[in-house]
């Protein structure tokens, strides 16, 4: 069923050449990565059997996570992505976010080695094969020095447009421990992408581990909420004003309530964080961005515009499909009820403003 509003959106999308800010390539297996390891690590990952690295949050086996029609399509790798997504949606760019279990590895050197191999693999097997593809650098947040080296290594390959972290890692991302990474990212024009997922360094809720995957997925929002609080309170937003922070697969509708509460708290508690000179809502609107799938919208599409108004920032939202995850049906990637006047910005302009490296030639 294609209703007219959706059809109109779709044609607008393909005319504009939309930029899809959250696309997931198939997670690489050891056999995919092996050519990209040096001899030492080749031997280590083989003898120690480091193969399938998949987060407990996102098991690939979980059927409801994936769209059946996309899964069933023929081909693999780039070819399949073209057939399912790039061509039918008429995308100008798609940003690949490779979310794997590397974030959960403890050994800081092994994590760095797997990140290096993953990034080289992304470059060779994806970016080199379709000019529409862009990617996020997978970084070993367990090892900031190695993360900075990885940023430097790819600084000249403009197809990598952002660096990627999980929303629940060892510590909140605002902590000064991570600042050298942000310093390097900002210097080279990368934005910071924070994707759903937990390294399970601690329970995903204050009350412990949750029984069900459904519950676990719901709780991702809390990881994001904590990160927004951390970026604000620790002063990351002021310290790195040119680095946009993109919350990916975070849901959207929770943010206004958080801005209200944090701004109110800030009025009472600002002497604690004297470097936060503006209300958190202003900082968040200026520098935090969110992808639109999932949106966590109310069932009545008429209400969606109210949420956009609560957000009060027309440049905060970035178009995404979250391919190949099952977030919407058919081509209805733009949430029902999304105001028409903003579609252009959503699909294209906001992304260009978020990712300084995007327009430049590879």
């Amino acid at each position: 069923m294609v209703d007219t509003a959706v059809a109109r959106q779709r044609s607008v999308l393909s005319q504009l050449g939309a930029i899809d800010c959250d696309v997931h390539p198939d997670a690489p297996q050891r056999s995919d990565l092996l050519p990209y390891f040096d001899d030492y690590w080749k031997e280590i990952v083989t003898t120690r059997d480091v193969d399938r690295l998949e987060l407990t949050n996102f098991p690939t086996r979980t059927k409801p996570f994936f769209r059946e029609d996309w899964k069933a399509a023929e081909g693999r790798g780039v070819e399949k992505l073209r057939r399912n997504l790039l061509d039918p949606f008429g995308l100008k760019y798609a940003i690949l976010n490779c979310v794997t279990g590397v974030h959960a590895i403890y050994d800081p050197y092994l994590a760095a080695a797997v990140c290096r191999a993953t990034n080289d693999w992304l470059k060779a097997e994806w970016l080199d094969r379709d000019p529409r593809l862009r990617a996020s650098l997978v970084l070993p947040m367990q090892n900031p020095e190695a993360a900075v080296e990885e940023i430097e290594r790819f600084a000249n390959d403009r197809r990598f447009v952002q660096v990627l972290a999980l929303c629940m890692g060892e510590m909140p991302l605002g902590r000064r421990y991570y600042w050298p990474i942000y310093e390097a990212a900002q210097r080279h024009g990368f934005s910071l992408g924070v994707h759903a997922g937990s390294a399970y360094r601690h329970a995903p809720s204050q009350s412990g581990f949750l029984s069900y995957l459904a519950e676990d997925y719901v709780h991702q929002v809390q990881g994001f909420a904590a990160q927004v609080g951390s970026f604000v309170a620790e002063g990351v937003l002021g310290k790195f004003p040119d680095m946009k922070i993109v919350l990916i697969e975070s849901g959207v509708s929770w943010l206004p309530g958080q801005m209200w509460r944090m701004s109110k708290d800030w009025r009472g508690a600002r002497i604690e964080v004297p470097w936060v000179k503006e209300p958190p809502s202003a900082l968040v609107r200026r520098q935090i961005r969110m992808t639109t799938q999932p949106f966590d919208a109310p069932s009545d599409p008429a209400e969606l515009e109210r949420i956009i108004e609560h957000l009060d920032a027309d440049d905060m939202l970035l178009f995404s499909t979250d391919y190949p995850h099952a977030q919407f049906e058919g081509d209805a990637a733009i949430p029902d009820g999304f105001p028409e006047r903003l579609i252009d910005r959503l699909a294209r302009e906001n992304a260009l403003a978020t990712y300084p490296r995007l327009e430049e030639r590879p």
Partner: protein
Amino acid sequence: MTETGTLERPVETKAKYNLIDCDIHPSMKTPAEIQPYLSQRWRDHLATYGGHTRQGLSETLSHPRMVPEVSRVDSWPPSGGPPGSDLPFLREQHLDNLGIDIGVLVPLRFNASGQRHPDFAIAIATAINDWQVGKFLDPEPRLRGSIIATQEDPANAVAEINRRASDKRFVQVLLPPRSIEPLGKRRHWPIFEAAVRHSLPLSLHVGGVGGHQATGAGWPSYYLEEHHSQVQTMQAVIASLIFEGVFEHFPELKISFVEGGFSWVPSFGWRMDKAWQTMRDEVPHVKRPPSGYLRQNVWFTTQPMEEPNPAKNLADTLRWIGTDRLMFSTDYPHWDFDDPRFAFKVPLTAIEKAAIFAGNAVNFYGLN
């Protein structure tokens, strides 16, 4: 969010009650005030070992607050002692001054459920309950008490609930949202069963020491963040209750969430609904969209009121949650106190006002 729950009753404006405050924090002149309510064995224990909870500091919260005793500067009683410790002053400044008909006590000191020593936890819970009666409920008929129960030790929590239930001045069972395991887990179900049996609602006031990091992302540095993380705690508790099937099993259970705000509730409901639709075969015991349980079993107190800019955006939020779900609270004497005269910066109809300021609480507590 369309279903009408079985626990909802038409809102009646009771002339009897115009203002009910669901969150007043009583305190002690000195910590020694607890002693008459403890046996010698536990007095000795307290003196020797102090509190032993799942956090780094033994006498103090890990994130220092913004004002002494987290309290309004003007709430220190002229007779001495900390805010909330002097009944005549509490009457004068709070109950009389604001015209509060019923005030519900939420005692936070000593943190019974957070105590690691299981027997000391029981002793403290019982002592605090006796103290509420002795110091507040006996001399002041407008005040109501909360039954402190040891959440980590469900059998003894049930025993304490059974012991107090006949004293109708206790209007709810108080549990901390931060716990060792999510609240919905089956080991806690005997507590729910006892609450339903005695027609006592449960109330979760922000706080608790469960031994987990304050956010799924780790420990925040600042109170500014920690204060916000309380919202996430409340979300975790609600999701746990729903997905573990608690409301399906105990459809009569009523729960209020106190001091966690409420503007996050609509989007959280939407998110839960969506996840449930996608993955309901994982949780076949959850029969209805999660937001349906929110509409039926869950209430929220209003303080700290979120303050959107522009203020009118709050009207949407109120509509999405339902004004029948909200109960007014002041959080007296804490620093982020909401004054009933100024808390709502959006216009409310007379009916909405009556419901939020008193009617909903009458229904929730069964005050008729």
